[in-house]
Symmetry: D2
Subunit: 481 residues, 4 copies
């Protein structure tokens, strides 16, 4: 790792692993543009109008080739963009280099420490205002809610509530955040209050981050309007499902080169991510066992022919464990201690706390690094397990995340959400919104031609019979797809 | 067909094809009870409380073995039940016989004429009140909304608006309904007004009927509270999807004994019914082409590897056509005139107007009946097509509909909806309601043990982390499953 | 059952359930002809040459609509045909009626007793010769080898070896055969010797019958040349695999209307029939467990994601059992006694002895007939199982067998085998032959156009590079497809 | 590439990319040993007997982690091993390093030139004999037949037939081989004759190499006994099918990170490799089109629901092309010139001549290297295609080949073949043999426990009924699995 610290707030400030990878990154960005028709169509339609002209946008989202196309789309619409990754392992260094080389401030490399990570987040949201003072973003693109968390917690502290910052931390990462906030409090007094003053909204990418937003809103603590991008149909039913269907196996293969056929795989959780994961593994010839807490999702799994059991019931027989729940403590130390020799453990949910990595590291098991993102832990009784990407997103840590085409759907929603937040900055309340169905359908429509889909058009008589406009939207809000 | 007309309103009034089939029907009802754990659990839980004690319930829903278990569940909860089928071909005669034999007034046989059908509907909603006058139901279980339609149209007429009854009819069936209403107007003056006075609510089974209800509600014409059972997750994502995945092929096989592998099948519509249909046919080795109007559903189909084209693009190459849309005029006469020789055309959406059967019958094509529910039409140019179940639901017309287990989910929702409507008869407005998620999850839970599913239980810490109760409900309302 | 005994050897001798069904049967035969392009192409090519002119052919093969097309193809080629079914439940009565009505001697109805069955077999092989004496066939189309068995056993007896005929019988059916042979010995002295004198060959349809032939050949007892049709690629890899993939579920559905999704199904044997069965059930959402004796097939099952266990390991948890092995005593009485309540037991292998039906019937379990081919057995402890088609082929007993298109492949092989046997009657030894690969490829080729397949043609350079003729055959003999 | 040329025939002679990778390679070899139960069981059983004690073995087979386990198995059995890769891109450099570091002479690195490649092959077969002279192997493990080709062609030249060596070459590689032979003729007169004298046999891994062997045998030119390992069931129906099912997508993903769902993929050839490829791509949501020359395989593809067309019919609409045929000139320059913009072209058949790479390179299309093994070619009309691994095996060039578990099956066959060839060196003729079915079943059996398969055992009565031994072999030779 040769990430060089660049002076913060310099003219061309960035921090990436190796700027010389920019040329390779650019070639792959060009390939990706062909696979991201939604974003390219949005550029073509909106760039002339510059709907985000001069708007300061901070992004905290995996710094991949696909994200590079999103960043350049936001810039094409007029935005002033700064970016960090939202996961210590998810950056593709050639993507970050290409973005840095094109003059965008990006702070991200594969294999950050947690301290690095939160410093990068802070750097990405620190804009030098025209008057030379330090300010924050007007809009945020968030993935998992880390920027939102940092601003809210910083603001809370400046409002005089230091209870959280001084509380005992449940994890190492929590302490890193608290330390950062204390440092900022010292170095930039009143900073968060100024940031909040200018902040107009956030669009959030994932189930996990959205969940945090609804919790904030319910508690009456949400500071800005938020758009729940995750629950656009063209996001959650595509990226989460079809993205993971492709990228989980990709991560497993690049990490372990393991034969999937004939193995017993346990998929914890049967939401969209779990559905994509379970179906992918079965198609490879795994015998897949699902764990679930929700009787409806459990029944879905059973109707699809999956066995539904608890993690405990599978110990000693299963070869592969994948967590997809958005919950914590799914794979516990006691589970790993009782697993079959050479079991593979990984997570494709947003946070690494789905697996008890901290407890594992403290357990006395001997850790042997096989290659980056692949560690073998050997227990006292002689059996070993493999932990991938230190429990973080296996598809981004061990492979390159979701492929471009599906991300074009998600990021088209992100871009439309950013436009919408800015256009309605005076109209929206500090609540969580979802994009209207018409835009959701539009995102889908932008992707059809690329893959040769030919839609049928309603006749006026048919539209009248259904009671919908000929051009849509076609479904009631409660429709589930 | 030896359906004998029984005197209406006699002590044991019913009209079925052959009462001697009752014994066979009873044996199959007993088998079905083992496959319908949700209904049996509801009986066990609620029968002691008699929540529908003495309530007059009219059902208009395919008179099958599974429906027999529903009927007997409603009776166990105290209801006074009268029943008709909601499709001229969907009755299983041994089921109807068993229900009649047990003393319930049922008016249904396989192969009714349209005149029979609407007479049966009227018979099912005609109760003799304690004072000897003719009244109507207090609650309605509807499937497709025919009872609801009849009451609303009758009431409209009695309110003095005869515009519809005297308008030109778009189909033969429409005229049959108008004729019936005129006859009732003569024979039973003021009848519909008395019916409406006692009517407290309707629970509706299908996408199509629900759609009608929302249209009525939007127009301010809905007369009673309605529960949209179709959009319970445990209904639409189970019955529509997994039910059709099993019963479409069943209908095709019993009708035509055709090899599905190697055939080109066109599935019109990629909603839940279309998804189940398309996946079933592909699993058999069909090459499936999907048609869609909605870009989101079209993109889903493409992501699953289906070709998406228009019906026109498939003419001359496709072997099988299945309509699943809830819309009308999907397969037009011109389509059928241009199809490949021996193409099979069928419908698994609610109404037969998805296929232009009337125009086909009037087209001059020579109709040859092969066996019940299978007709061959030969066009002037010599090519033929096969039309199944005269365009009505192929799974019910040519086979026996969805299997018991999945119907147990749907009918558990129906039963809970009936209980809910009655309990809240004074609280609910004339709007369309959906069952609360907690009940939805409960319906799923009642079906898990039967199939050996073992749920995981949240720890209190995990529940707190997610912000949900340990025992659920687990998901936000907008969650799509 | 109103099967009327017709006088044997009368001008139009036949014995069917109901001759009035002939018209319906004829309509379905015409539909089937469109689905059987191989047979129709063979008629077109060979009928002018009359390669079977005047040859006496006895067929013992399920008397279905598809077989009717085979019979009429053989007749078109000049043969003098007599036919019986090879299973007491597999006849489609309308097919038999249509064949009888067209003047072919057929002896078959659905639901024969075992005594009926063997009488029919005898009737089908009894030709009245021009001199008025009773003779036998010159060629045999066999399925399971019952005609071959009868002739060999009859001949053995006439050769003076009565050890088998007088031995203790392992099953009721075995005794029926012995009784028949004794009766023939009395009524037609020297008959079998005369039959054998004229007999020139047999083509055999199934794995089971072929196995018998190889055993006879190895023992030096085979009396005529035999063609193993089963092991044509276009038979065993199509009919056994793709046929069962369609007809197993068809049988289960028509018999039980059971929901397959969510059920645990045990498929005993993972040969071609087992593969088709297991994949079909999985596509329906069953969780499928496979049992196997052969480590290679077991490893294949595991690579496809199936759990491989023993029958014993599944007792109490599995809902459906399907035997596909060609072996005996797969499902034993002790198994059925320990199964889950309401488990369904059926067989899709050739003989019913895969399930211990005799022991079940003698076990004291109470047998309740639900409908034809569906029996419920209730054990002393109160739990019940359902046995389908009395343990005989469930797809033929409870549904209509394989669909036409795949049977066209099998029967094209049969027809080419009959032509080949007669053409080489003087050249072939009493061994088991397989059709040459060129003919096998030809059978496939005859079916491609119907389903729109467009083949690529080798360039001469490519053919030379591969060392094969441009027009094939393309693969070495050991190639497995 | 920093491959350092080591002095040939030095004490520890090898040539690898980077010997410092040995430690990483060793860790992965240890992981692979757990996934290769067949090889480990063979070590345990045979190492004590040293069946290959002192035997000089040359291997020409992809120098991967899995092959490392094979090499060390052969050494454990006593062999003196030298190794080269059989493909310029297929070496895993850390595997080669680990093998070199352990003292085995290996000549292989990822990214050899063709000149390097054939020099390595020569180095691998050049043993220094005890008397100090240069000799050759006693046994050969071949994959594609390059060692066999080189020896046969060298021997032919020394026998006085120089027609081939002096003929015009159809490809650059052919000329490289001829040049090498001429050089050897100068440097080592009489060398090939001495090699042939000691050579006792070859076991061949692939369809392509086996095809060459049968051609040699038919022409009467085969010099030694050969064992066709490819056609062991546990090789061709596992490695070719299940291996490619996993490794094709792996190669595509690592090369292109492309979304497979929604794409149109053309799989040329529907043999075992094509079957695995087509099913894998479909499971990802590709719409797969198959091309075939063989009507039987084409009909199989159609029965599985694949569209079967020619390459020409797909130009302009397909996104991905995969060749799997074993034939040449499948994807021609004219095809690539007419493909859709950004189409991806790759090969998973043995040789790169399935795609006309030479013609493409000479066509004037502009070649841009994106990253190793990924080249973009832009044609004059502006459209581009991506060629992976320069047309060589995409799974080995762009990923790491088949996973360990399936290779354990293949390599167990290889090892048993080597033992068998040596044991029968005096008995076998210069023909092509297949391993007996008993060994084939044994290979499968060795892999069952690892994946938790529990076999059923025949009772003696069942075995007698089937006419097979209780412990197998279970199937006739012609059985196709």
């Amino acid at each position: 790792m040769n990430a060089q610290v660049q002076p913060l707030h310099a003219a061309a400030d960035y921090k990436v692993a190796d700027i010389s990878l920019a040329d390779w990154g650019r070639k792959e960005i060009e390939i990706a543009e062909h696979e991201m028709p939604g974003l390219m169509a949005i550029r073509a339609k909106y760039a002339p109008q510059q709907p985000l002209k001069g708007v300061r946008v901070t992004g905290s989202l995996h710094m991949t080739i696909q994200t590079a196309v999103l960043i350049e789309t936001l810039k094409d619409l007029g935005a002033d963009v700064r970016w960090a990754s939202c996961n210590i392992f998810s950056t593709q260094d050639h993507a970050a280099a290409a973005i840095a080389a094109s003059g965008t401030s990006v702070f991200a490399w594969k294999g950050e420490t947690l301290e690095d990570y939160w410093d990068c987040t802070l750097a990405a949201l620190t804009f030098t205002l025209p008057d030379g003072t330090l300010g924050g973003p007007q809009l945020v693109v968030d993935d998992g809610g880390d920027v939102t968390l940092l601003i809210h917690k910083g603001y809370e502290l400046e409002q005089g509530d230091d209870s959280w910052v001084n509380s005992a931390s449940g994890s190492h990462e929590e302490q890193v955040i608290k330390n950062l906030l204390k440092r900022v409090a010292k170095e930039r007094p009143g900073y968060w209050t100024r940031v909040v003053k200018d902040w107009k909204g956030v669009s959030e990418e994932t189930t996990t981050g959205v969940h945090r937003l609804y919790q904030l809103a319910e508690a009456g603590k949400l500071l800005v309007p938020a758009i729940n991008v995750n629950d656009s149909v063209t996001k959650s039913k595509f990226d989460n499902l079809y993205g993971c269907r492709e990228s989980l196996a990709d991560g497993l293969k690049r990490a372990m080169d393991v034969m999937l056929a004939g193995k017993v795989a346990v998929v914890c959780g049967y939401g969209d991510v779990g559905k994509g994961s379970a179906h992918s593994l079965r198609a490879y010839g795994c015998r897949v066992i699902v764990t679930e807490i929700d009787p409806i999702c459990a029944l879905q799994a059973a109707m699809e022919g999956f066995e539904v059991k608890t993690v405990e019931d599978t110990l000693g027989t299963a070869d592969i464990y994948v967590t997809t729940t958005g919950n914590k403590d799914i794979i516990r130390l006691e589970h790993m201690q009782a697993m079959k020799d050479q079991a593979i453990v990984c997570n494709i949910g947003h946070f690494d706390n789905e697996i008890q990595v901290d407890r594992l590291n403290a357990s006395g098991a001997v850790k042997t690094n096989i290659k980056p993102q692949v560690d073998k832990y050997t227990f006292a009784d002689g059996h070993s397990i493999f932990l991938l990407a230190e429990g973080r997103l296996v598809n981004l840590g061990c492979a390159t995340g979701h492929p471009s085409f599906v991300m074009s759907n998600s990021f088209s929603n992100q871009t439309l959400a950013q436009i919408d937040l800015w256009a309605n900055k005076d109209a929206y309340a500090a609540k969580v919104y979802i994009l209207p169905k018409k835009l959701d359908e539009e995102v889908a429509r932008l992707h059809l031609e690329k893959i040769g889909v030919k839609l049928t058009t309603l006749t006026p008589e048919q539209a009248a019979y259904l009671g919908v406009p000929v051009e849509g939207p076609f479904k009631p809000e409660h429709y589930r797809y």
